[in-house]
Symmetry: D2
Subunit: 360 residues, 4 copies
């Protein structure tokens, strides 16, 4: 029923890919916060497509305008509304496919849901472009969490069969932080070339490829999340599965747990000084739905981009027959690459929301 998320840090999303503007209304930013505009711009730039051959060449500029809730470089405490105008929208590219229900897209489901009235141009409200305001809200949450010492990282962990070292074991050095926070792609240097080559191969084949984005949340205080329905996992999962193309999520050992025994899976608890820790971190820093202070790490599986130039067959609802379709628009050959800042944003939004709830 809702384009909203959050209970204290709340986000209300609006807009269509080829409409006037996209944006969101954010509630719950503390009054008097001086926003880190550079961080917001950096994150939006990381999400932005069109930077090179690994992402769609659309020139989305994502220039945002804060139209309420911000005065004298400070948040006012009342709702902050941000808008991003849609400028580079070549609706022409999409005309051809207008009568097709593109495979893997919401063309069919959206038209039934909205009785054919929804704005189909560029995916309308379903467009991945709507993740820009989410990244905006995520950057603010990231800033607010950083002030509390909580840090969020995300990286490409797998593309096709090429795999980076997981956050499970990766030591987070400043070098790693810089590597993953670079403006182009959050890929560890040793496998970067191979990964991008795989993506480029898919692109040259007019095809696309899937991947895994990994998230890591460090220095989470003990006690965030709820037993049962609002577990930390539930809240993160709710947010992650709203990212277009997300189809799988695992915390810690995840699916590998299924072939483990309890004696291996359990994380032994001990105390290091005044801090409670676990020897291993198979459970990803969450027990009974509640953070235990250890790093929270998780994997998000993304399907290959549904929009491909390669010819495929699907239903044309004007001719009422299955026909060949070649989607000529501009598409990312691997949405996982662009999902890195979105996974980070969603992690920040959820974690900050839980952090604030805990203050009550």
């Amino acid at each position: 029923m809702s384009s909203q998320i959050g209970s204290v840090y709340k986000l209300s999303l609006f807009g269509e890919s080829h409409g006037h503007s996209i944006g969101c209304v954010i509630e719950g930013i503390p009054a008097g916060t001086n926003l880190d505009i550079d961080l917001i711009k950096k994150r939006l730039n990381q999400r932005r497509p069109g930077k090179d051959k690994y992402s769609t060449p659309r020139g989305e500029r994502d220039t945002f305008e804060i139209i309420s809730g911000y005065h004298n470089d400070m948040t006012t405490g009342t709702p902050l509304c941000v808008t991003i105008k849609n400028i580079d929208k070549r609706s022409g590219d999409y005309k051809k496919t207008d009568a097709f229900w593109r495979p893997g897209h919401a063309d069919f489901t959206g038209s039934v849901k909205y009785n054919g009235a929804n704005d189909l141009r560029g995916g309308g409200h379903f467009s991945a472009r709507l993740t820009a305001p989410i990244v905006f809200a995520g950057a603010i949450a990231e800033q607010l969490l950083a002030e509390k010492g909580i840090e969020i990282l995300s990286q490409i962990q797998t593309v096709n069969c090429i795999t980076a070292e997981s956050f499970e074991s990766l030591e987070i050095t400043d070098n790693i932080r810089q590597m993953l926070d670079a403006e182009d792609y959050a890929i560890q240097t040793p496998i970067k070339e191979a990964m991008l080559k795989t993506v480029d191969e898919a692109r040259r084949d007019k095809d696309s490829v899937g991947g895994i984005v990994e998230g890591l949340i460090l220095n989470v205080p003990v006690g965030l999340g709820e037993p049962f329905f609002d577990s930390f996992e539930s809240k993160l999962a709710h947010a992650m599965f709203s990212i277009p193309g997300m189809k799988g999520l695992s915390f810690g050992k995840g699916f590998d747990f299924t072939s483990m025994r309890g004696s291996q899976a359990n994380d032994m608890i001990y105390k290091s000084g005044i801090t409670v820790k676990t020897m291993t971190n198979n459970n990803a820093g969450i027990n009974g739905g509640i953070s235990n202070g250890m790093p929270i790490w998780f994997k998000c599986a993304f399907k290959p981009t549904a929009s491909i130039s390669k010819t495929q067959k699907t239903y044309n609802y004007e001719t009422h027959s299955v026909e060949a379709l070649s989607i000529e628009g501009r598409h990312d050959p691997c949405i996982a690459l662009r999902a890195v800042p979105i996974v980070k944003a969603m992690s920040a939004i959820v974690t900050y929301d839980l952090y604030r709830e805990r203050q009550i």
Copy 2:
């Protein structure tokens, strides 16, 4: 902030494992519904432990009492409250471990969250026993969905390395329905013996083992779910990750998508009579967060039961040292086995909630 789930079909959960009663308040059942009490009892019995050596020998009887919202064998339309008394609670068994933070449990996280005031006996509000009222509410949702022709199945798909045929390809015959709806375990006959043997081996080793439960939702109308935050996947994920021990979730090809190309992953759309279908169903019946009418299938990864009799080391907060612990209570060697009716219940609760929202 909340022990609640649902927006139209709403569930408010309460109770502790060794307290007076557990139960829930349910809103959103249509007035005048004659509840299928036999179905409720059957589902509760499937969840109930203590039936044989594959589950904990606790004699939880799960006798429920509807104390409001039901009159003359009909729901009244106002909130229905159900309570289940806690009878067979041998708190003695748990005494020994009182000063231990059991690995993989919420003992530590819960004590921080609730300032040491929570009821630790038997896991308190964190106990898997709280899934009984969830199964109760799920059985009602299952009945209400069945009246609309919507069907939900769940099965054990993997224990250790033993794997049943997935719902992806399994033809759902009446034979399969009966096999999976039997009161003991929802395991396909051909691999049942091998699976239970694996579980029994873990039990004999005083250990436990993980597994995968698969869910299947059939005949879902087109148009359920929302773009972005309340996608069908988001809502299901939110519910599933509140089940104790759940650590991974995938829809359709899930993590296998990451090594696929778009041309393989996309499901070709066609029309069969007046019904829109897809040739494959890699996306598990959901596009853009919204149901497309094809079966919704997903996998839930469960970790091995955290409570094991095998000796393990952990922190004793009275002696302030890491000590050997052997949990002598009664435990399931494989929580995945008992999670089958819970996954079914959660699926029914979420699907019925989305179904009702769509009626607005």
Copy 3:
């Protein structure tokens, strides 16, 4: 859509007047709270009918049982469920009126809303008896507010044409506190006899009479409430208008404002030591929806009890004609008398909820 109220201190209400039990689930009580059981009993007793000729002679005993969320005399931090069994329910009394839509009652509206399936006995879920769990939850909120120095008073201000001194001018001495906190009725001594005489006259005439209950909230911190939709007035009004029989609400000068000029109505702001105060308090301690630290005072108008023994005409849906009806059950001649602890409870629930929200 909901039998719930509150966003941090949350209440979920259930039960029917003549069903098994009534009760509620409360979330948001801080873990480790030692409940003031005596205060709860006192407030329930103040609400309880059947004490004398001024209230219905029903012997509702309101013996409550806390069935979750309370262990070792402390709240656990997880949901607290309380039930009150329905014992003295003489459904016989109500049989006669079964086929009548009683004037001023929800018989007709409820039967349409719930398709005739609701439990009509004794008003079912619409019964004023459901205010007992509300008073229970209110007493807990009152205790929690008292720990913060916030105090809530309520009194009968008007019955028929007899009027007590308003909280606008009444000096709150310990004597007044005791007078209004007596277990029988919160009426100032000087006019008590006259007021009760008026009520008794109505009772002897087999009729009923309306009245005004006044509420007063003292020592509210500055800053509670929101601009627009969740103003302090909005939240209080939402709660108050859910009390059966409530038909009017005013804050401060209320309807008297309409014949005043701004120069009279405005409350001059000054500083007394470090505390900001206003010379007058026409606006009842709320500006722009937000508490200003001055006393919050308001009037609640209650209609006369709808159930009267006096013969009146109404529709009989079995005979399909308008017929004479004399309601022979046991009824309060003046619901305002019993509403005093309910207005106090609702005030406490709302104020504590806003207080907690402000802590975030």
Copy 4:
């Protein structure tokens, strides 16, 4: 915690009086609705100040722009965002009063709530200007209700001691409809001149005056609203008390009930053809919180405008002393006059929300 209202028809409000823009995000408009732009403009114009000497001469033009959720003259079914730019903002006028906490305003409470960070210019987010987006959303709800045959009227019922015939007895003819829907003021012709004279006198005295706005909702289906917390009265009250300056609300006989007896107050139920009706309508079409099909009528008491040019004393937080203040900005001498379309809008928003909830 929230600048939102509604559960199906949802409104999220943003903006400050002198910021970039004000506006709102609306969810829950059926996809494919062709909005009645003329009705929206008419309602905004009725709310707009600066038309004559009875309202502030500010030239707020309230030109709105729909920036999402509307395509090809149809709602898309996804969130609709509307913005209204702030053009005529002479912040200069307000400078003088910057260091004063204006009596009856949120200057003091807002500065505490938002730690001094809120935008105080022109009242910021507290400004009555924020009612423009509410009127926008109300006009859409009004259109959607009209399609179901539900009609909403509002009128000035009292200014000072001058009183129009109440909706309780007024026969709603087309003539009355036109009289009350005129673009200037919703005042019945016979007393219009006298009322406006009273307002003008206050204005000439550099003062202001209060008043009562009456609301009327016709043809409401039986069954809208809930027992207890979400009663029709509760929902309307919640909305009405968020209108700046609202200080009292009564349904039907309201405060007059307090001197009535039950035998007078009860509305006799009968049947007229297939329609259930009541002989009188003292309870204003609501029994047990639920609509009974009779007209819903209610009175909203507005205090005199807090901003007056007349000299008054209040606290100056720069000089730390009480000083004389004359507010030189442009102000309405009677906010009740301008509240008429706002009361109508709020009524429409709440009624349509309840109407949609009932469809589930």
